[in-house]
């Protein structure tokens, strides 16, 4: 019921947007090279799908994204657990992180190219930077939120490091860390496109730049729409993951066993 309602709402919203867009096109005030019509963009989307360009670029983008994101997640969680646990160390590192964090990953681009050359690596590094800080910060704060009773139990049962971190702190903190993973996913996807726009010869970001260079605004918009859809799908994917975690971590108080 509510699912159907949601679907209907989505369709109504999309139709309104398209109607508005078509309406503006129909006023004739904007040349089709400035604002292509919905139909033209739809055709362009079909063209991208049909000739395989989309698949090639999405594949490249997803590869870079997964590489950068997963490395950031692994590094962010490992460092986050250690820094969160040894809070004296965090006291020293925290100010540095606070300075580095607001810097857009794109700002590093000149150095990234110098250090990592061209190709896939610069984009991966940019995604890494974009995803690393949210994961790190949410992990550090998650560690500090771990209920003291779990640590008391661990101490009582003679659990020693590194098992306190792996068996107790990490699983106890994971539901909070998952929130950070979700946030990181969003910002990393944003910077993937930006990264590919400045230094790549393939990928969804490049697709847009390439279309612009060929003066094909319909392809530009088609590319933008595909980026949005892929981002949405990734978001849904991590939501499923979050739900699964919630269930297995015993934090979803759904039906009682008995």
């Amino acid at each position: 019921m509510s699912r159907l309602k949601k679907l209907i709402n989505t369709i109504i919203g999309l139709l309104l947007l398209i109607a508005l867009w078509q309406g503006i096109v129909l006023t004739g005030k904007y040349d089709s090279s400035l604002l292509p019509s919905p139909l033209k963009v739809l055709e362009a989307m079909g063209e991208l799908i049909e000739n395989g360009t989309l698949l090639t670029h999405i594949r490249v983008s997803l590869y870079r994204f997964s590489a950068g994101y997963l490395c950031a997640v692994a590094a962010g969680i490992v460092f986050g657990l250690i820094l969160g646990w040894f809070n004296k160390l965090w006291g020293i590192i925290d100010p540095i992180i606070q300075v580095l964090r607001p810097i857009s990953p794109i700002a590093w681009f000149p150095f990234i190219v110098l250090w990592f050359g061209i190709g896939d690596t610069p984009a991966i590094v940019i995604i890494f930077i974009a995803a690393f800080f949210p994961v790190l910060l949410s992990t550090v704060s998650a560690v500090s939120k771990v209920d003291q009773i779990y640590l008391k139990v661990a101490k009582n049962f003679g659990i020693k490091q590194p098992h306190i971190l792996t068996k107790i702190v990490f699983p106890a903190a994971f539901p909070y860390i998952a929130t950070g993973l979700h946030l990181a996913l969003g910002s990393a996807w944003v910077f993937l496109v930006a990264g590919e726009m400045v230094g790549a010869q393939s990928g969804l970001g490049y697709l847009i730049i390439d279309a612009r260079n060929n003066i094909r605004p319909d392809l530009v918009l088609a590319g933008i729409i595909f980026i949005g859809i892929s981002g949405l799908l990734l978001d849904r994917l991590i939501r499923l993951l979050e739900h699964w975690i919630g269930k297995n971590w015993g934090i979803v108080p759904n039906e009682r066993g008995l």
Partner: protein, 262 residues
Amino acid sequence: MKGGSEMYIQVKNVSKIYTQNTVNAKALEGANLEIRQGEFICLLGPSGCGKTTLLNLIAGFEKPTVGEILLDGQIVNEPSIKYVTIFQNYGLLPWRTVQGNVELGLESLGYDKAKIRKIAEEYIELVGLSLFKKHHPYQLSGGMQQRVAIARALAVDPDIIFMDEPFGALDAMTRMKMQDEISGIWEKKKKTILFVTHDIDESVFLADRIVIMTPHPGKIKSIVNVPLSRKRDRTHPDFLAIRDKVFAEFEMKEKNKIEYYI
């Protein structure tokens, strides 16, 4: 106390002072207590009487400001798997199943997987939760969760079990049932149990000796012997006589119309 052989647990002139913002709060003052191996001791008193503090000190979670505590002749410095604590809010790991929770302590004893599994199953059986071993804690009622915690504690075969108001969060009926069970387990397993409670009936039902504690500052006032045979009858005149005695210790005997509040 009966003299002679060396006592198993010795609390010698122990005080605990918490300092917060340069203000000193005396949680426990001049506590002396000796406990024999295999005794069931209840620490009874209202909140602020230092009963939980005393338990935490003996269990090694905290250190005394003054005095010393010996377990089996050794000064207590830190918690040990030989002395397991059961908490009021159970301290179960929500991401582990019942089986996983009971296995937690066994994992640090260096047993192989098959042995860990076997011992855990044995103790889950003991507390009657075999049908629920694949469940997560949130799927269980409070009483069942506390049974998991008891199974987890017993599984590592500790010498002493500390219980900090373990049934405080349970309803009255479940609480009595759990009292029956822990009393039965104590008889079967012959563990030394130190049990913190603010419930007079609970302490008379469970303890060999009741340590009466009073607040401001936390102090041991007296010790009441409970020479009743097990399993105890909560309505028997002898039971009620000891209950009366405990009430008298708290100077609530004449005023026992006034509800005992915490």
